[in-house]
């Protein structure tokens, strides 16, 4: 025994080869991977340069300041053929943000309604919600976009035979026409009043929660907020003499003049995106509400808290913790899915930049990289915001 012990003690510590040390191996392995990756990247780089040279494609981002020479059907900022490709990029980006932003709002509202409806005790309502969810989420989004665009919106009557509502809203195969509000002199004050209302509400809600913690007295916050955010601007609006006129669309010749035209491509895309994503959000909301244990509701009931207050103060805050992380990834999906716009010709960033601009300039590498970077940045920003919100809603353990 003792012999053995001394044997072990006298043996040199490093008996096996250095190559068997996991740390050394790790370094060697990582170095090999790095070399391989660099070689791979270099080969691709060289090939690309060579290929571009042989095809006569120029490189660099100079093309962004060249005139684009093509028009875009829907622009949020001033744009025509003489503007540059850089401007095209911006127009596409804004269109993407517009459809994705409105889509996120619609999908959230519809998704929450459907998720709650699916849990309803009412047999008919819950079955309708189930049918909605199971149908829409099992059919590809692109097919749904095509359906709304080619099967519903395109066969609509031409402008002369538009479907109309109250003589102010018109629906035809060129889209929807709605009245356009035109702000007159002094409308700026209304906007300022609105902003003041929002800021005041934030301060009052802080003060109210502080007071409630100190004294236990509650403040009718909802009514106060309503008065400040909607009432105050309304009062200012009428004091200023209602400085707002409406440009109502009217048929002139073969087309409508005045009002705002909403493109059928936009409607189809927005509709499909929101209803499709809402089906997924409904499932998330349902599982979130189910995840709140029944004991919580019972505990609230036994404290004598009203049902509506229980829902608002006990169930929803706890359900939100379960809901937010998957909701974030649905929002990201919606943003990425808005790129399907290119299939029906809504001028989003993929359609105008990765489509038309790429075809005209042939600078595939720069354009694809820029477009991908846009989506990566949007994803990053959205997940930062949602992570912040998640942190605010998460369980505060003391």
């Amino acid at each position: 025994m003792s012999q053995n012990n001394t044997d072990i003690a006298t043996k040199p510590k490093q008996q096996s080869s250095v190559l068997n040390d996991p740390r050394v191996r790790g370094v060697i392995f990582q170095a090999l991977v790095a070399i391989l990756l660099i070689w791979f990247g270099w080969t691709i780089f060289q090939n690309t340069l060579q290929n571009m040279e042989s095809r006569g494609i120029t490189t660099g981002f100079d093309f962004l300041s060249n005139p684009a020479g093509f028009g875009i059907g829907m622009t949020l900022i001033e744009y025509d053929e003489t503007h540059t490709y850089g401007r095209t990029f911006l127009v596409g980006l804004l269109n993407t943000i517009l459809v994705a932003g409105i889509g996120v709002i619609f999908a959230t509202i519809l998704g929450f309604i459907m998720g709650v409806a699916r849990l309803s005790k009412n047999f008919l309502i819950s079955k309708i919600a189930t049918f909605y969810v199971e149908t829409l989420r099992n059919i590809p989004l692109l097919l749904q976009i095509f359906f709304w665009y080619f099967a519903i919106l395109q066969p609509l009557p031409p402008p002369r035979k538009s479907l109309e509502a109250a003589g102010t809203f018109f629906l035809n195969n060129r889209g929807v026409y709605v009245p356009d509000p035109i702000a007159g002199d002094g409308f700026g004050f209304v906007t300022i009043a609105f902003l003041i209302g929002i800021i005041a509400t934030i301060f009052i809600s802080r003060w109210a929660s502080k007071r409630q913690e100190a004294t236990g007295q509650q403040f009718p916050l909802f009514r106060a907020a309503l008065g400040l955010i909607i009432g105050l601007p309304l009062v200012v609006f009428f004091i200023m003499g209602a400085p707002l006129t409406w440009s109502i669309p009217a048929l002139k010749g073969f087309n409508f003049k005045g009002g705002i035209q909403i493109l059928p491509e936009f409607i189809a895309l927005l509709f499909a995106l929101s209803t499709y994503t809402a089906a997924f959000i409904a499932e998330i909301v349902r599982s979130g509400i189910l995840a709140v244990s029944h004991g919580q509701t019972e505990a609230a009931e036994s404290l004598g808290i009203k049902r509506s207050v229980t829902l608002r103060l006990v169930v929803i805050p706890q359900a939100m913790r379960v809901i937010i992380p998957p909701l974030t990834s649905q929002y990201l999906n919606l943003v990425k899915n808005s790129s399907l716009a290119t299939a029906i010709g809504y001028p989003d960033i993929v359609a105008v930049f990765m489509g038309t601009t790429l075809n005209q300039t042939g600078q595939a590498v720069e354009i694809v990289a820029m477009t991908m970077a846009v989506y990566l940045v949007i994803s990053l920003v959205l997940s930062v915001i949602m992570n912040w919100y998640n942190k605010a809603m998460s369980l505060k353990e003391r």
Binding site: S54, N138, I139
Partner: protein, 366 residues
């Protein structure tokens, strides 16, 4: 002494059982619910009869050309019937279509046992489906060997192409996904960084941009003289994209394995690769089968995007035929047919993954 005569029990009051009670509890429990029920019933009454009339009672089933649809105002299913071959095979050579049928049959042969409880050698059939099947079906569909005439991939289309894209995508993404997931949990900082970057970049961009990249940028990356077919380029793009999602699913499984398992493997003297392949991955992969099925459903729906780079999947075949001037106003029928095909596959698979989830909901749960 009178004998106790048992009297038959009274029927329960009408208000607590039977159809009236059911209606009271499920449809009219509160005034709000009553109003909701009435609104919903009215909407359904307005919607369902016209839809049924259009789709079934007034629909045209008989005949084999556009004139057959003049008979009534309902749906023109004749259109779907006459174009069924195109929707299934695309432009695949008509004389060779038996090869596609045989592939469908083989696919059924490996998939159906997965749904039957206690089927013998179920696991091995599943493994064969992921390894041998793709090779056999690939040879069968492509041809060029064993006396089978070669069929160009640009003639592939319809349902067959959709299935090829999604199956190849998932089978090829599986090994990449495993490697990326292991790399993301590696202790080597550089490997971890590379894997995280790869995964997050692909997950952050839409599939369309990946397909665009595969179709316009990939040819630039390759040495001169190399050229891939369009289908192969799309498959490369889909595989890259899908392996990032697969990696995240598998990472979930790896994280669910208790640390004791890793330590037990190490204490048995197993090295990294052996402890992963013999101890950890078998358990982790079993855990994530439902997740893999879910990514498969997502991929199956996403394959429709290939029509944007000019491949002829089932939606593209429908899209190509509804513009045919001989048939007018059949777009709804075409889309409903395609939607139905997707719905059957996706709904079936999601039910399957839910059942699996319940069945596998054992073990590691604490």
């Amino acid at each position: 002494m009178g004998v106790y005569q048992e009297k038959p029990a009274l029927a329960p009051p009408v208000s607590t059982s039977g159809p009236i009670a059911w209606i009271r509890i499920n449809l009219m429990s509160t005034p709000l619910n009553t109003v909701l029920t009435l609104i919903a019933a009215y909407v359904l009454y307005q919607l369902i009869p016209p839809i049924l009339n259009w789709a079934i009672f007034d629909a045209n089933f008989a005949g084999d050309d556009a004139s057959a649809c003049q008979a009534s105002s309902g749906a023109c299913w004749v259109f779907v019937k006459t174009r069924l071959g195109f929707f299934t095979y695309g432009f695949y050579d008509e004389a060779e279509r038996w090869r596609v049928d045989l592939s469908f049959f083989l696919l059924g042969l490996v998939i159906v046992p997965q749904f039957i409880n206690g089927f013998p050698y179920k696991g091995w059939i599943g493994v064969a489906a992921l390894t041998i099947m793709p090779i056999v079906v690939g040879i069968l569909l492509l041809g060029g060997v064993f006396g089978l005439p070669h069929v160009e991939t640009h003639t592939w289309g319809g349902l067959m192409l959709t299935l090829v894209l999604s199956f190849v995508g998932i089978v090829a993404a599986l090994p990449f996904g495993v490697i990326l997931a292991l790399g993301r949990r590696s202790e080597m900082p550089m490997i971890r960084m590379i894997c995280v970057t790869f995964i997050e970049i692909w997950r952050g961009v839409p599939l369309i941009s990946v397909l665009f990249m595969a179709s316009v940028m990939l040819p630039l990356f390759l040495p001169e003289g190399w050229n891939f077919e369009k289908l192969l380029r799309a498959l490369i793009g889909i595989t890259m994209f899908q392996s990032a999602y697969m990696a995240e699913v598998i990472r979930g499984g790896l994280q669910a394995i208790p640390k004791g398992q890793f330590e037990a493997a190490a204490s048995l003297g197993l090295g990294y690769w052996r402890s992963m392949s013999l101890i950890v991955l078998p358990q982790a992969l079993k855990l994530v089968i439902p997740g893999i099925v879910n990514t498969f459903i997502a991929l199956f729906k996403d394959t429709t995007l290939v029509l944007i780079i000019g491949l002829l999947d089932i939606l593209a075949t429908v899209q190509a035929t509804i513009v045919d001037p001989a048939w007018r106003g059949v777009s709804t029928e075409g889309y409903i047919f395609a939607a139905f095909c997707f719905w059957v596959f996706c709904f079936g698979m999601s039910r399957y993954s839910q059942a699996l989830e319940r069945k596998l909901h054992t073990g590691h749960k604490r």
